[in-house]
Symmetry: C2
Subunit: 425 residues, 2 copies
């Protein structure tokens, strides 16, 4: 296949193209790489390709005249991609798609960027190699070319080699070992020395599953898993950040319909649904808070019915969930109980459909990986301002850009827990 | 700062280090890059660094003796990172962390990988530049060095330039324009020519918000947004894939407690909660299916009470949600109604806590971006096998590796919808 790189630093690629497998692929004619410098198409004496941005600001912007002339000079541009942090992230699937093209042109921006009207003049796909900023697109273009080229038939000596690597099977790679058999006291895992291919394949699959579970559980979303895989993962030991998280359902102080602060009565299904979420996600507990003694008595009777009474016999699953429920007269009592469970002070995370948020979901995930936390939801029309004010952090609204944010507290508890813990942990 | 690259292709970096801003940074002493070749530490006549993997399989593995000798020869290794697709993904925050180190050593693997015992001998952080596979770590190491080096004080002429770029503010970059003012009939946006700095800053912020909303809404999770930003995003026109998605709540045929197939009765709160999810996520509709005529009559009375009866006056928000409810005697009738709404056949997506899954969440997101779909959930103990069998796809269990999967259908509807649509769309 044909790559054309449009760059003001064509020499950047000299050594990239002259060593390792890339050099061999070029030599073998598997891929061809040509380079075009927009500077050669500049018409002024200084071969200027950049200029100051309209509207001011730091840095320089690559202009249209030399860039369009460079692109129009290409006899066979094929699919045009621009390396840009604002692009679609490069992944193995995109690499495979590009490997199926006959020709791919890569635009490498420099300075602050390229005049945006270029996108009106050409059909350009912005591609990113990751959420980081480079000085120009050249290093990213090298990654893209290498990732794509190695999927072009004939690139590698053995085609099997490309297939067994990370992401090809949707999992991170299993660990490799080579001679010596013992190095500084560290032996190779005995299973690899046994010569039983089925056992070795199973061992490698399990190590790949383990590594993926520990580092990139998000990959399981798109990875086909066998029943054996699923059984292994269910039994695999792992850190369970869910243990650090307790859900709290606050019935007072909360906002009432008229905007005043007060207490609302308990809803049976809230207790059931949030207990089931707590059990399904392996949470540390579910704390129900009401300042009204008779409401706590009612909640206690519901819990007893399902945990030790007739309900426990007709539906043992429900007993398992409701046994996570604890009843508290105040938020302080709930926080104290969670702190006592873990032997260290629990953070208070609040939720609000109105904002402003002070804790992103990403930051909340880090928090609960490190220490216990009580995530409180308000019944009625949400938590009172006093609760938001004392919280260590307030999560964003679940749908910050929606004009309608009236989820039930049952659905909100499930969605928030899922955003914090996901499917695998 | 000091970079040391451990690589069997030291010449790979020759031109990377001799052009552009990286060359200037090296020349100015802002960064220093040394290269170490494990081959120089091999003790055999052929300078062998690789060997066949224990347990068999394609490709070669870099061995421990030369690699450990190379690492131990470094006077000041600093933080050791290995470029690997199995590593923590490089992002701007990691780049900033590494820019604060005095020394960073980058291990570039080749062949299938490096003998895994190396991780027992040294404190090594695996770092990935993206979910794609390279032949070796060199191109990735170039990206990492460039991303890190440009954050080291003194790297760029103007420090402001580094700050204004993508991800520095947590958003994708706004578009840039430079001379000529009109190119092939395309004008620069007039606001940029006006010279009003506040207006220009606001315009650029809004373009950055728009681009981020369209391409990377996930970035909003960690981006601080002002009330103006949020107001702009709420009003921004955008594709709403939620319009293509309808939730379906099936009361029969479903699994009963004893494993047989039958019909369960309607629960008032199911209708309310799932209607509220449907409205909050901007779905196309909420289809309630029951083969029992009197159950549909009951559901109709509930809906009427809240949509047109007394409930609509006391709680207009609820009317907005429940107006999305439609009642059907069969799944076929529900599918026909959804297809008729959109003028093309709707896909049937089923859910099951038991599996096996045939449609990943990622694939389901692509499906509903392209065509209408009815996502059905079963009451009772889940959808009957006949429904799973006729579905175009079955989503994975919400918690596939949990030993307990007994969420309420209300919580499950919220979680599944959130996984498919997220917070911004």
């Amino acid at each position: 296949m044909q790559f054309t790189v449009v760059t003001i630093f064509p020499e950047f690629f000299d050594s990239f193209l002259s060593c390792g497998l890339m050099a061999k692929a070029v030599e073998a004619g598997v891929v061809a790489v040509s380079r075009v410098n927009p500077r050669d198409f500049a018409t002024d004496r200084h071969h200027t390709v950049d200029d100051r941005p309209y509207g001011g600001g730091p840095g320089m912007v690559m202009g249209l005249p030399s860039m369009t002339a460079a692109l129009r000079s290409l006899p066979r541009p094929g699919k045009i991609c621009m390396l840009s942090p604002a692009g679609r992230p490069l992944d193995q699937r995109m690499a495979a798609e590009l490997a199926g093209e006959e020709a791919v042109t890569l635009l490498c921006g420099r300075y602050e960027g390229i005049d945006a009207r270029l996108f009106d003049l050409f059909d350009i796909t912005p591609v990113s190699v990751g959420d980081f900023v480079l000085s120009g697109g050249e290093s990213a273009a090298a990654c893209l070319m290498e990732a794509v080229a190695r999927l072009v038939p004939g690139f590698m000596g053995k085609d099997a080699s490309a297939d067994e690597e990370s992401f090809s099977a949707g999992l991170l790679e299993y660990p490799h070992f080579t001679r010596p058999e013992v190095f500084e006291g560290l032996p190779v895992p005995p299973v690899l020395l046994g010569g039983n291919h089925a056992t070795i394949a199973a061992w490698r699959r399990q190590r790949a599953l383990e590594t993926t579970l520990a580092r990139r559980p998000d990959l399981f979303d798109t990875t086909p898993l066998s029943p054996d895989d699923a059984a292994f993962l269910r039994a695999a030991p792992r850190t369970r950040p869910g243990r650090n998280l307790h859900l709290g359902l606050v019935h007072g102080p909360v906002l009432l319909k008229d905007g005043s602060v007060g207490t609302v009565s308990l809803t049976n299904l809230d207790v059931h649904d949030i207990a089931r979420v707590s059990r399904t996600y392996g949470l540390g507990g579910f704390e129900v808070v009401s300042p009204l003694r008779d409401q706590l008595t009612l909640a206690g009777r519901i819990v007893d019915h399902w945990c030790t009474g007739p309900g426990s016999r007709s539906n043992p699953d429900r007993a398992e969930a409701l046994s996570l429920v604890r009843l508290h007269e105040s938020l302080d009592a709930a926080l104290a109980a969670v702190s006592a469970d873990h032997g260290c002070p629990a953070a208070l995370i609040a939720t609000s459909a109105k904002g402003p948020a002070t804790l992103s979901f990403a930051a909340a995930r880090e928090l609960i990986a490190a220490r216990p936390a009580l995530l409180v939801l308000g019944t009625g029309h949400g938590l009172a301002d006093a609760v938001l004010a004392r919280a260590d952090g307030v999560l964003p609204a679940i749908r910050p850009f929606s004009d309608y944010n009236h989820l039930s507290v049952r659905a909100a508890a499930g969605i928030l827990t899922d955003r914090l813990l996901g499917d695998a942990m």
